[in-house]
């Protein structure tokens, strides 16, 4: 067996660095420095040539049109919103019963406690939680569960009455993102009930640290880009909402949850 650590060689780029270069990534300065090195290093140039050959072989064996067709066919077999529950093939007939169990769990979880991963707003009628994909199964995230970039989650909302649902997040970099509805789509009516999955799942991005998620159940539907702009305009620095339990938006009932990404 030859699995072992090797010391970094500052004189030569790693295979990964060469792969990034071949993919067109890197700043202009990085690319210029690497090109200069490749001109003087036959060994690295050979590795780069191998990577390029790999790409050519892949395109030859996987024509772009065929791959696109395969993706379209795969996409067509799924419901548009692709919630975790459907994708993870929970048995038919248990769907509504399962959702009721989830809703019961969420309602039974302690309220009014600030915990990373799952937070309940004190005294609020709405409650927000999420499912997370673990080993191919959807599980209800327990209080305090941290998440990672690349994790796939689906929000769950318990509300005594329905409204027009919007889900957005404010992260540690001050970015405001609207998770529901999709861009360009105006929010549809979301029914009240226990532990209802918000359509669509989210793949978490690379931004580490906290992200405050707000579920807004509003009297009127709002367009996502306009809503994000409205939230950004509420304060000079949107990060102030990381420690807030509600956004100062009229006409919306709210629930909030704190995600902490490792």
């Amino acid at each position: 067996m030859s699995l072992a650590l090797r010391e970094d060689d500052p004189g030569h780029p790693s295979r990964h660095a060469l792969a990034r270069h071949e993919a067109g990534e890197g700043s202009p300065a990085e690319r210029a420095a690497l090109e200069s090195h490749l001109g003087a290093c036959p060994a690295c140039a050979e590795v780069l040539a191998g990577i390029a050959a790999l790409r050519s072989a892949f395109h030859a064996s996987h024509p772009r049109g065929d791959l696109a067709a395969a993706l379209e066919a795969r996409e067509a077999t799924r419901p548009p919103a692709r919630p975790l529950l459907t994708v993870l093939r929970w048995p038919l007939g248990l769907g509504s019963a399962t959702a009721a169990v989830i809703g019961l769990l969420l309602l039974l979880l302690p309220s009014g406690q600030e915990q990373a991963g799952a937070e309940r707003v004190k005294g609020a009628a709405l409650s927000l939680g999420f499912l997370i994909e673990v080993d191919g199964r959807a599980v209800v995230a327990e209080p305090g569960r941290s998440v990672r970039a690349g994790d796939r989650i689906q929000f769950l909302l318990s509300a005594p009455a329905g409204g027009f649902l919007h889900v957005l997040g404010v992260d540690g970099a001050g970015q405001v993102s609207v998770y529901h509805p999709a861009p360009g789509v105006v929010a549809g009516a979301f029914p009240g009930g226990a532990g209802r999955p918000v359509p669509g799942s989210v793949i978490l991005d690379d931004t580490a640290g906290p992200e405050r998620i707000f579920a807004l159940l509003c009297e009127a539907a709002r367009e996502p880009a306009a809503l994000a702009a409205e939230v950004r305009a509420l304060a000079p620095d949107p990060r102030v909402w990381l420690t807030s339990e509600a956004l100062p938006l009229a006409g919306c009932r709210q629930a909030t949850l704190l995600l902490v990404k490792e």
Binding site: L3, H16, L54, L67, E262
Partner: protein
């Protein structure tokens, strides 16, 4: 992406399926890509997450025997980590915590440097070195047990 799915999952069928799944997820999540990392890094994260989930599922089901070197397409044989090393990596990954898994995939599969691996997993180089050393020790023990059979 195809190469790393193959290296992580060990056979053509799983790699093809994973490749499609990763791109489909990326297409659906594209609206949430905010450009803080490079597109390659973003796709790598999605594929690592998916492939690790598949590996954990395979370990539970104990199906799909590992690919033999002869099954690998010719273009993947160039400049590859050794097949038996990859098989060990695949076997060991599910036993470790998420941080070590990420580091091991970055270092042994993507062939990042220690510095690049540390940046990818958000830890210092000494910390990553310790994570990888634990992984290598476990690999050596697993290899010994395999040699004793």
């Amino acid at each position: 992406m195809y190469r790393r799915c193959w290296l992580l999952l060990g056979n053509r069928a799983d790699a093809e399926d994973a490749l499609q799944e990763v791109f489909l997820r990326a297409m659906r999540a594209a609206g949430g890509f905010r450009g803080e990392s490079s597109p390659m890094t973003w796709l790598y994260r999605i594929s690592t997450n998916h492939c690790l989930n598949v590996l954990r599922g395979k370990r539970r089901r104990r199906d799909t025997p590992p690919a033999q070197a002869g099954e690998l397409p010719a273009e993947l044989l160039c400049a590859l980590p050794r097949a038996e090393d990859l098989a060990l990596v695949r076997e060991l990954l599910p036993r470790f915590d998420a941080r070590t898994q990420e580091a091991a995939v970055a270092y042994f599969v993507d062939e990042m440097s220690l510095q690049e691996t540390a940046a990818a997993v958000g830890r210092s180089v000494p910390t990553v070195r310790k994570l990888l050393e634990r992984f290598v020790v476990a690999a050596a023990k697993a290899a010994e047990r395999g040699g004793d059979r």
